[in-house]
């Protein structure tokens, strides 16, 4: 048998999408379809909103009409409460996509006489469900029945019957419950609803509030078990699991200038990627904001809209400061290309700040977002929250896709971000102090830059009245030098070089001279040799002639003596040949 078979979708528990951002990811597709889910939490944690969103999304997005049974609020209140989220309940009701029913129980009007059941509620529910073919049901907060009806024994057995009935009816239900002491709900509803239990929590730490969501139980399905922070923002409920928000956003290969030509050169000659996340980190006063201003300036010059989140300085201050390095941001603000959003995160709290950012981004629709500085989000010991918040924000911007430029103040000289967000960053520039020779200079290098061949050089980073300049640093046997020491060292080097080049020239001259001398000598010797050669050849010739003559004489003499001719015939012939030759 093939045991490693991947379960087909039909075998897994059918789920019903909630449409709540992030929740469907944690639960792997929503809450169990056709079963009741218990959502519990203390007052004001967002139970009703959670349930309402589930219902409205069902009606609007998934073509699943829904029934909302409110035990606490009237239909009118409910409609008003969700108007702020942009839902028009009245319209949905008129379109028969949603049925609202307010169940009102006045204890003092009720007299209990003998046995009864809650069939009236069942009939109401059944009628509401059937009237619009509802697939989703919300009972908010059913525990109210306990305060309205006197007999808890009847109520318990009827609730048990109700949940069974809901299951048989095949509707996906959300039942909300108020958190009790030591139990999930006051009346122990978790006993009846055993398929899926979600706990919402609202707590205040370090004077800032965080909402969290946890899935306590999800029978028959895997689910994220962490506590996930969630926020209630303009467009509703949003659970933000760290790993959730799409890693499937579109990736752009377009490149945009950093506003500093030399930096573009370092970045593969083209600059940043559009839609990437750029982080500049460094200690105080190294020029992080100046880099941000350069980038903003360049973006505005291209005609792109820039949204500048200033977390520590006022816009006026930023613009004044940037004027001193020759960057005129005022013009862009006047032309509506640059917008500042200056608020401290402590003013709102992290979640609300995120909400405000979302809203600002949605309203202004920028192509570049600057966050200066990121470190302001860390208040006290909220690093975890800050990280998840930043992550959510970055994801949100990346999806859009907006190029994000963030600055981050580090406390030490180490490459330490304070919050571990390095994995989020596409291009990370590091600015650092270099202290040599009683001077403080700025050095910059690229710590990482995904997807491009970037320079590994340290550059000296200078803020001049014409803007930001990047210079080569002096790298020599004495280490990295910047500022005056670099200039001194460079002058020294120059002098030394001059000296050396003169020496070389001298040597070359001497060599030339030597060559000339040698050549002259060679010529002389050659002439001498030629003369000698001629003389010697003449001598040899003379000697030969003399020898021949002697031989001839001897032959002639022999002829005269008429003797020994035959015996010497050979030698005579030989002699003759010689004569003929010469």
């Amino acid at each position: 048998m093939d045991t490693q078979k991947i379960p087909s979708p039909t075998l897994t528990l059918p789920k019903s999408l909630t449409g709540i951002q992030g929740l469907d990811e944690i639960t792997g597709g929503g809450i169990p379809k056709g079963r009741p889910t218990l959502v519990c939490g203390s007052a004001g944690c967002g139970k009703t909103l959670f349930a309402m969103e589930f219902l409205v999304h069902g009606a609007m997005l998934y073509d699943e009409p829904g029934v909302f049974f409110a035990f606490e609020e009237t239909e009118k209140d409910l409609a008003i409460n969700v108007v702020s989220l942009g839902y028009d309940l009245d319209k949905l009701v008129a379109e028969k996509k949603i049925v609202l029913d307010h169940i009102h129980i006045e204890r003092k009007e009720i007299e209990e006489t003998g046995e009864y059941d809650l069939e009236g509620l069942f009939i109401r529910l059944n009628y509401a469900i059937d009237s619009i073919g509802a697939k989703r049901v919300v009972l908010d907060t059913i525990e109210t029945l306990f305060s309205g009806l006197p007999n808890p024994l009847i109520l318990r057995s009827e609730l048990r019957r109700l949940f069974r009935w809901l299951k048989e009816k095949g509707v996906t239900a959300i039942v909300t419950g108020e958190r009790g002491e030591g139990t999930l709900t006051r009346q122990g509803l978790e006993e009846y609803v055993s398929d899926c239990v979600i706990v919402l929590d609202h707590r205040v730490t370090e004077q800032s509030s965080t909402r969290r969501l946890r899935i306590v139980k999800y029978r028959g399905s895997t689910h994220g078990t962490n506590e996930y922070p969630f926020i209630i923002e303009e467009n509703g409920f949003s659970v933000l699991p760290i790993t959730s928000i799409g890693l499937d956003h579109t990736v752009l290969s377009e490149r945009i200038s950093s506003g500093i030509p030399r930096l573009d050169t370092m970045l593969d000659n083209k600059g940043y990627y559009r839609g990437s996340i750029v982080l500049v980190s460094g200690t105080a006063g190294v020029g992080k904001s100046s880099l941000a201003a350069c980038f903003s300036d360049a973006a505005c010059a291209r005609g792109e809209q820039v949204l500048y989140f200033a977390l520590e300085e006022s816009p006026q201050q930023i613009m004044r400061n940037m004027r001193s390095i020759g960057i005129d941001l005022d013009q862009w603000e006047k032309r509506g290309l640059l917008m500042f959003h200056a608020k401290r995160p402590t003013f709102y709290g992290l979640e609300s700040y995120l909400t405000a950012m979302h809203k600002a981004v949605n309203d202004f629709k920028p192509r570049v977002v600057v966050i200066d500085p990121l470190s302001s989000f860390i208040i006290g010991t909220n690093q975890f929250e800050a990280k998840s918040m930043i992550m959510r924000m970055v994801d949100f911007l990346k999806i859009n896709p907006i190029t994000v430029f963030m600055t981050h103040l580090t406390t030490g000289v180490n490459d330490f971000t304070g919050i571990d967000i390095s994995s989020l960053i596409d291009t990370w520039l590091l600015l650092r102090d270099i202290e040599i020779g009683g001077e403080r200079n700025r050095g910059m290098y690229i710590l990482k830059s995904r997807g491009m061949a970037h320079s590994n050089q340290i550059r000296e980073f200078r803020l001049t009245e014409h803007g930001v300049e990047l210079l080569d640093v002096y790298v020599g046997p004495e280490g990295v030098l910047t500022g005056s020491s670099r200039i001194t060292k460079e002058a020294q080097e120059k002098a030394g070089q001059l000296l050396r080049s003169q020496e070389i020239e001298n040597k070359q001259l001497a060599l030339e001279r030597k060559r000339k001398a040698i050549n002259a000598q060679i010529d002389f010797l050659k002439a001498e040799f030629d003369a000698e050669e001629v003389e010697t050849l003449n001598d040899i010739e003379l000697n030969k002639l003399r020898e021949n003559l002697l031989l001839q004489d001897r032959i002639d003499m022999a002829r005269n003596r008429k003797g020994d001719i035959i015996t010497n015939k050979n030698s005579i012939n030989k002699a003759r040949g010689n004569i003929a030759k010469s």
Partner: protein, 109 residues
């Protein structure tokens, strides 16, 4: 005293009662029988009783804010009261109908 006044009114006023039941369950059957007996005994000739089956008129459940079945609603005289259950505890029914003070309700079984 409001209650005495209510009793006073109750002693002479016409009653408009509506009993909501959910089908022919034992509860329904008992409730119908009980209310008829109570009305004949205490409200002879000055009551109007209507029995409504919620299964046949489901919309009324919403309009009348019915949860439990059976539910007897005393529409007139005011104030409106809901009496839930099979009406087997006569004293409590009488209290609900403003025909008896609540504190005496446990005296007669």
């Amino acid at each position: 005293m409001a209650f005495e006044k209510a009793i006073e009114i109750a002693e002479s006023a016409n009653y408009l009662l509506r009993l909501y039941v959910a089908g022919t369950t034992p509860y329904s059957v008992r409730a119908i029988a009980n209310i008829k007996l109570i009305c004949e005994e205490y409200l002879q000739d000055r009551y109007e009783l209507e029995v409504v089956d919620l299964y046949k008129n489901p919309t009324l459940a919403k309009g009348e804010q019915i949860i439990a079945a059976p539910t007897l609603i005393k529409r007139l005289p005011l104030p409106l009261h809901r009496i839930i259950g099979d009406l087997s505890v006569v004293d409590r029914v009488l209290v609900g109908l403003d025909l008896r003070k609540a504190k005496n309700s446990n005296l007669v079984k």
